[in-house]
Amino acid sequence: MRAAGLDIGSRTVKLAVIEGGRTILTRKTLTSHDPLDAARTLIDGVRYDVIVATGYGRHLLKGHLDCPVISEIKAFAIGAKALRPSCRVILDIGGQDTKAICLTEAGEMSKFEMNDKCAAGTGRFLEIMANALSYTLEEFSKAALSAEEAEKINSMCTVFAESEVISLTAQGAKRHEVALGIHKAIVSRSIALLKRIAPPGELFFAGGVAFNECVRVLIAEELRRPVFVPPDPQIVGAFGAALYATRQAKGT
């Protein structure tokens, strides 16, 4: 049986198709102004027997495909547990949400915390800050890693932080030190969220921001514990949804 999971995030739509426990296809596209169209384009021509949607656009898709939906929190919990059976704590930094999820030994969600309703400390925040410093996302992370000192960024509001970055550069602050300051700000916010649910052990880091090496390094340093990043951290939710679809179909 082929099961598909579709994760309609705020910035990216992700598709994972699995068969016999193996991932046989993944696809991604930008969500754009029309998430439904983006989702349709992504599944166009893809063969599957069952499909489950997740992500903030899940209910939109449910109306068109008549498929079951699960929250992205559950999808990440299922996906992370399958990819890393020892996983007890997940940090997912996506486009507009940051989630910290705590799992029981059996892999059931026991607690979760999410950021406030604004985009502070999320992927979108990093995008805007990179843009304010005229970096691509790849350059942004590399530049931050190369800095010895960090400029302190005090504001976590995306709009105010952007003004802060502009005034720092206007004062002659070094661009890569500002970049490091921004990365530190996002990390300290994520760690505060993690500490609220305070589970022990290795951290499973997922979501698009987990591609950012500087964030990964800073989190490991701050937490003083191992950080595991799956090969494709962005696909964990879609993969979890596909696994859920398989289990539902099998009735387990």
């Binding site: 903030y56 209910h59 699960i70 929190i73 949400d97 969600m109 026991s110 999410m114 309703k117």
Partner: protein
């Protein structure tokens, strides 16, 4: 709700916002010459108001529509309940405020007490100084004094007086109302339940202004309908719904988006642990003490509001609610910038998770509809934890 079932209060206001029915009630009271006293909070001692043959009215505080106007004066980063209340007054859009002949406030929080300073010129207004360490020996004496001062204020404004007998009578009327409301709550506690939050709000709203004696025959009729629903096997919501207790700040109007989100993802609200819900009906006022004002003061000081410290009663009362209504999950609603409920949420979360093993979710929100998607995702994940 299933349309086939008869509304619990089957009058011309069935299906309308619950405020319409209570407004009509107040207007009928005005017609008979009664004077209205506007209140904002569960600490307003309504027994004293009634003993002076005055009718209490809860003032508007739950609409996003008046917040823009309020923010021309008040800071944006303030509790939406305070902003909304103030906005209603300066835009003259709260009909309850319009028909009130006097207004009573309490120093429950900094935002409210400073907002009250801005509305003193609209109506005769009295602010009660609420002690916030309720277990200190002097708290009861102070709050009793404040109730006497309110009595003086109301007697002056309305040029009338009252007696201990009449206050005692108002106490027994409140106790009758509490008994009656709890008979309804027995049906909310059923599993599966036969009544939802919307119909309960119809009753709560009317009971803010109507007396216990007026409510009693209506409640008896409601109880008959609820018993019939039970016997007919009627279930409110889906049979497999997750039972949710909602606690925290008052919720109504635009904040009811949280209730709607819970129901939209398959939850069923079985306990409303807030001043806008069941909290008012959690304890009786002692009768026959010979000191009715002292008895009123003693009861009101036990209201487990987060403005009190320490507020262990919040947890002990919540335990009773959990044991009675048997929720599967708990949602704590915190209105933006309500520091006391926000901080207290930590203890609430620990209590429900550690003591009862219930999944817990804190939602910090305001009256705008901008976070409906995020609220829904969180509530959905909470309910997924119950399966």
């Amino acid at each position: 709700m299933n349309d086939a079932v008869e509304p619990l209060i089957n009058d011309e206001y069935a299906g309308e916002p619950p405020s319409k029915r209570v407004l009509a009630y107040l207007q009928s009271q005005r017609k008979r010459g009664a004077k209205i006293v506007g209140t904002y909070c569960g600490y307003a001692p309504v027994e004293l108001i009634r003993a002076l043959d005055l009718v209490p009215a809860t003032l508007c505080a739950f609409s996003n529509a008046t917040i823009d106007a309020a923010e021309t004066v008040l800071p944006a980063n303030l509790c939406p309940l305070i902003k909304s209340s103030y906005g209603f007054i300066i835009t003259d859009t709260c009909p309850f405020f319009g028909i009130s002949d006097a207004v009573v406030g309490e120093t429950t929080c900094d935002g409210k007490k400073k907002m009250f300073e801005l509305i003193t010129d609209y109506k005769p207004m009295h602010v009660m100084d609420l002690p916030q360490l309720p277990d200190e020996p002097e708290a009861l004496a102070q709050w009793t004094t404040m109730i006497y001062k309110l009595k003086g204020f109301l007697e002056r404004v309305f040029e009338r007086t009252t007696t201990d007998e009449r206050i005692e009578d108002a106490i027994s009327d409140t106790n009758l109302k509490i008994r009656k409301m709890n008979q309804i709550f027995d049906y909310v506690a059923l599993d599966p339940p036969v009544v939802g939050w919307g119909e309960l709000y119809d009753i709560f709203f009317l009971a803010q202004s109507a007396t216990g004696r007026e409510m009693a025959p209506l409640v008896d009729d409601i109880l008959k309908k609820l018993e019939r629903r039970r016997q007919d096997g009627y279930i409110y919501g889906a049979p497999e719904s997750t039972r949710v207790m909602v606690t925290g700040c008052p919720v109504a109007g635009d904040a009811a988006k949280v209730f709607n989100a819970i129901e939209a993802v398959g939850g069923m609200i079985v306990a409303l642990d807030a001043c806008s819900g069941m909290k008012t009906y959690g304890a009786f006022i002692e009768e026959g003490t010979g000191d009715p004002i002292g008895a009123i003061a003693a009861r009101y000081l036990t209201i487990p509001c987060s403005c009190m410290t320490p507020n262990d009663r919040r947890l002990t009362e919540m335990d009773k609610v959990i044991e009675r209504f048997k929720p599967d999950a708990v949602v704590d609603v915190v209105l933006q910038a309500c520091h006391s409920y926000n901080v207290e949420s930590h203890k609430v979360g620990e209590n429900v998770q550690d003591k009862y093993g219930l999944p817990f979710l804190k939602i910090v929100t305001d009256y705008s509809q901008s976070d409906i998607g995020q609220i829904r995702t969180r509530v959905e994940a909470l309910l997924e934890m119950c399966k």
